[in-house]
């Protein structure tokens, strides 16, 4: 297994920590003029999503994690697994609920998303930052009420529930920021 020295540390680097694949979020170099240098890193465990701090003596090496982020097309879910396809090789991958996490709320068949593979198997799915989805259920809209500030819950075709303005109706399409789960705008079909 290849390794990285602390002087190669940077945001996004994938390393093995305590047997789990992790991604470096932040790397800080701490050194007194005359004394030991350290690298303090904030890392995300890619299996559990947990964020933790780790401190290394500068010059130490850690194993690289065999992790790649690859763009794939979402195909369908069979209830247990979510199936994705590499649009170039047509190779398919099945991700379990653990790997998919909350991303399933934003996955619509044919849409592209980022699948994180560890040793060739999916451990994470990241939806695009913005998705466009149809409203499948919401209270009746108030015609002409486009100025007032109120919101109401609306269920989208993927099952996600987002707060939308009062004037939106079933069947309309909305743009949502998947990172915050917030409604952005109405989309003309």
């Amino acid at each position: 297994m290849a390794g990285y020295s602390t002087n190669e540390f940077r945001g996004g680097l994938k390393i093995m920590i305590d047997g789990d694949p992790c991604s470096i979020i932040e790397n800080e170099f701490v050194k007194p003029g005359k004394g030991q240098a350290f690298n303090r890193v904030k890392i995300r465990n890619l299996k559990t999503g947990r964020v933790l701090d780790k401190t290394f003596k500068s010059g130490e090496s850690v194993d690289a994690a065999d992790v790649i982020d690859t763009e794939m097309q979402y195909l369908y879910s069979d209830g247990e697994f979510w199936h994705f396809m590499d649009p170039e090789s047509y190779e398919q991958q099945a991700a379990d609920a653990n790997a998919v996490g909350d991303a399933h709320l934003w996955l619509k068949a044919q849409d592209h998303c980022e699948v994180t593979l560890y040793n060739g198997s999916p451990i994470g799915v990241t939806p695009p930052n913005f998705v466009e989805l149809d409203i499948t259920d919401t209270d009746p809209g108030l015609k002409g009420d486009t100025a007032q500030g109120g919101t109401k819950p609306a269920t989208l075709e993927t099952g996600a529930v987002v707060k939308v303005p009062l004037f939106l109706e079933i069947g309309e399409r909305v743009r949502v920021d998947t990172r915050s789960g917030e409604y952005m705008s109405r989309v003309k079909k």
């Binding site: 002087n7 800080e28 170099f29 701490v30 050194k31 007194p32 003029g33 005359k34 004394g35 030991q36 240098a37 350290f38 303090r40 933790l52 701090d53 780790k54 401190t55 003596k57 500068s58």
Partner: protein, 310 residues
């Protein structure tokens, strides 16, 4: 590709103002400005400082990690008090507060000890910052005692490693030596609590570097550092003037380098010859000018004060 300077023009102008003011300060106080080479055939043996090697034709030379050795040779040649503004190089040091090439002010005062040099440092910083600055002083031992509630002279290595594991989650200090534990705690736990200009003095003798051992307490060296809000700005000593002790420290450095698997460095025999010829009692200090500019301009990354970056 951006050809433009990294620092704002206002920062570049502030650097010019600071350099002008430093020269005025020392010229009016009887200090001679000197210029020593960046490339020398020998280099610093400190186990925690890595030197960059340069191939110059047939020779291999080192980019100096500070102008200390050359300036001491000038002092031994009866130069009197001297100062220098220049660049220094430390390989592999890069981060929010570090760049492998950085700017230093280094000065030596003949007849001073480290306390008198701290006094002069206060005057210099006050004159550069154009306003009244408050300075506090605390010994290295008292700083640890006050912040972490233990006595570094009493604590065992095992207990110290336990403190590291508790206070710095995610560190694995089981193989750290005593000074590595102290460096970890000072850098990651104590420094973030420090406020304003603060001198830390009387370092453990195991961290003496090139400082004289205190005549009052053989356990400490006459070494100080200046911090601002926990950022290390300067390091100074009552200088070690004894050639035999200096040789012993170089040799101890090289043994430590060997143990860590680092290359040993040839000892600077010219410096030792100068010390044998006689170096008057003096005190010297190096002040990081990039970090000082960060402090004066309230910037938080060294990138913002570097004119260009490699």
């Amino acid at each position: 590709m951006s050809w433009q300077p990294r620092a704002e023009l206002s920062v570049i102008r502030e650097r010019a103002r600071v350099y002008r003011q430093i020269r005025t300060f020392f010229n009016t106080r009887g200090c001679l400005e000197v210029d020593t080479p960046l490339l020398m055939p020998t280099t610093n043996t400190d186990v925690n400082i890595a030197s960059s090697e340069v191939v110059c034709g047939e020779r291999r030379l080192y980019l100096q990690t500070s102008p200390e050795f050359a300036m001491k040779r000038l002092l031994a040649a009866a130069s009197g008090s001297i100062f220098q503004i220049g660049h220094a190089f430390r390989e592999g040091e890069r981060g929010r507060l570090h760049n492998p090439e950085f700017s230093l002010l280094e000065w030596y005062r003949v007849g001073y000890d480290y306390r008198q040099l701290m006094d002069e440092m206060e005057l210099l910083i006050t004159s550069l910052s154009l306003r009244q600055c408050d300075f506090s002083r605390i010994s290295y031992t008292a700083l640890f005692g006050k912040t972490l509630n233990f006595d570094i002279d009493e604590i065992t290595l095992e207990e110290l490693r336990d403190e590291c594991a508790t206070l710095v989650p995610g560190s694995e200090p089981t193989e750290f030596n005593f000074n590595q534990c102290l460096d970890l705690l000072l850098g990651m736990v104590i420094a973030p609590t420090m406020r304003g200009y603060q001198f830390v003095y009387d370092y453990p003798v195991s961290q003496a570097a090139l400082a004289r051992v205190s005549a009052q307490d053989a356990g400490v060296a006459e070494r100080f550092e200046l911090f601002f809000d926990g950022v290390e700005l300067a390091n100074g000593f009552s200088e070690l003037t004894d050639a035999a002790q200096q040789r012993a420290r170089f040799e101890a450095d090289n043994r430590a380098r060997e143990q860590c698997g680092l290359p040993c460095h040839a000892i600077d025999e010219e410096l030792l010859a100068a010390l044998r010829a006689g170096l008057e009692d003096c005190a010297g200090v190096a002040l990081g000018l990039d970090r000082l500019l960060m402090v004066l301009l309230d910037l938080d990354s060294i990138d913002q004060v570097l004119t260009f970056r490699d």
